[in-house]
Amino acid sequence: MGAPTWPPSPQRSGRPGEPGAPLELALRLEKVSKWFGGLRAVDDVELTVRPGERRALIGPNGAGKTTLFNLIAGALPVSAGRITLFGDDVTRLAQHRRAALGLTRTFQITNLFPSLSVLENALLAAQALTPAKFSMLRPRGGFGELDTRAREALRAVGLEDRAQSAVRHLSHGEQRQLEIALALAGRPRVLLLDEPAAGLSSAEAHLMTSLLRGLDPAITLLIIEHDMDIALEVAQHVTVLHYGKVIADGPREAVKADPTVREIYLGA
């Protein structure tokens, strides 16, 4: 495991030996499936995401969206298929190794470090991909660079004033913001956002939307969002999942107009 490759080196795109790939893809899923016993939670999913793209993943409850995220992030092993990240096959790679390649995620159900402070949460994210995390005898204060990076991530989501608060004392909305900050502090290339606006009031959701829209355009975003308005405001491209299968994929207007999609999802 080396240091994270950020910013992504330009030499890596346009890999030789892959004809027909004019631009290297940030993320590519080929015939990815996941079975739980007899249940096909994710079924032969094909998905390609270009670098810097904002992609929304929508579908009714139980469509397999979060399972798909778990497969991409490496929290669950795939039953079949292949996943590549910037051209590297990561299908069998452990979750932390994928994170080292620049892939990170947030959680639908807030997953933070509740008894630590906000700053400590961000520090954990900032040091995750640096050798400093193995440092055992130097106090945390001695790592200025990490501290800066952690505070930057907090500033990006507007939490810099709450740095010393314990996470469990934050409001739900603030905790959702911190979810994003943790993902940003590791400086990811591909970011998987699992319902970032879950449980937010409409005012907070609005704040979250503008936060997401203001993210570094170099970051590739894949967003699961239940709230169509938010999803379509952030993403230009939409993939629709239904019973584990991709039933539509394309620019948002086209997907919006798709009759099947309207029937099973938007129409209701």
């Binding site: 959680f107 933070l112 630590l116 520090l123 040091q127 995390k133 193995f134 055992m136 945390r140």
Partner: protein, 308 residues
Amino acid sequence: MKDRRGIVIGLVAVIAAAGVAPLLSAYPLTLLTQAAIVAVLAMSLDVLLGYTGLPSLGHAAYFGVAAYAVGILATDYQRGFLVCLVAGLVLATLTAAVFGLLAIRATGTYFLMITLALGMVVWGLAFRWVSMTKGDNGIAGVPRPELGLPWSMGAPLPFFYVVLVAALVAWALLGLLVRSPFGLTLQGIRESDSRMRALGYNVWLHKYLAFVLSGAFAGFAGVFWAYYNGFVSPVDVQLVTSVETLLMVALGGPGTLAGPALGAALIVFLKNFVSVYTKRWLLILGAVYIGVILFAPRGVPGAFRRNR
């Protein structure tokens, strides 16, 4: 802030102990010595239980392995302090390194059961490998070490000060450890290992390192334990010792270092003094434990809940 309070209370306790020691008769002094040694054991377990969220029920194993190393080397081979110290530390660390490979994959109750079983293996060895350990009879007559100091370690006071210094060193090192980035990593694992994985941590590796380090410090305590008692027996590695250590940590408050250390001292004194005044001392100790479990905000149940 809570950190600082722990350090202050701990330092006050250490200074008070060091100050009154010359005024004490031999018996309370030996108890203070014992308290200091057991405090190191409790702090070593705190790294696992309090910081990493791993409730080990086999901690007596590393403690005991080191004590046995000292017992055997100091009696059968008449080795000096340095050889015994290094051998004790190395063996305890190696034992933890092997056991960690087997235990770390498991979590929660399963981790508890596996560490318990591994601890029993060491107990069984201590009991059955008679040619090495003298079995149930134990190894008696471990001489106090010669440290090249002007004072004989055979006297209770100099030995107490040596142990106190050793305990302070252990406390300082562990204190640095938990305040380092690595220590933060361990707390992150305690709070949410799924998030840690998503952030890019090799959770297994960090847990493993914590497990081995914790074992090494338990071994450090074990070295002094062998010298303190002058005697090593399977009792030192038995389940009761592990459980008692776990309760010391719970009593003092896991994840504070100073707390478990004081919890350890408290139990040593409770055991030895309450029992003088009443035969029902076990009842009192039991009531203390139950009180902690019911009322301590971060007691044993907290550690288990986090781990689920």
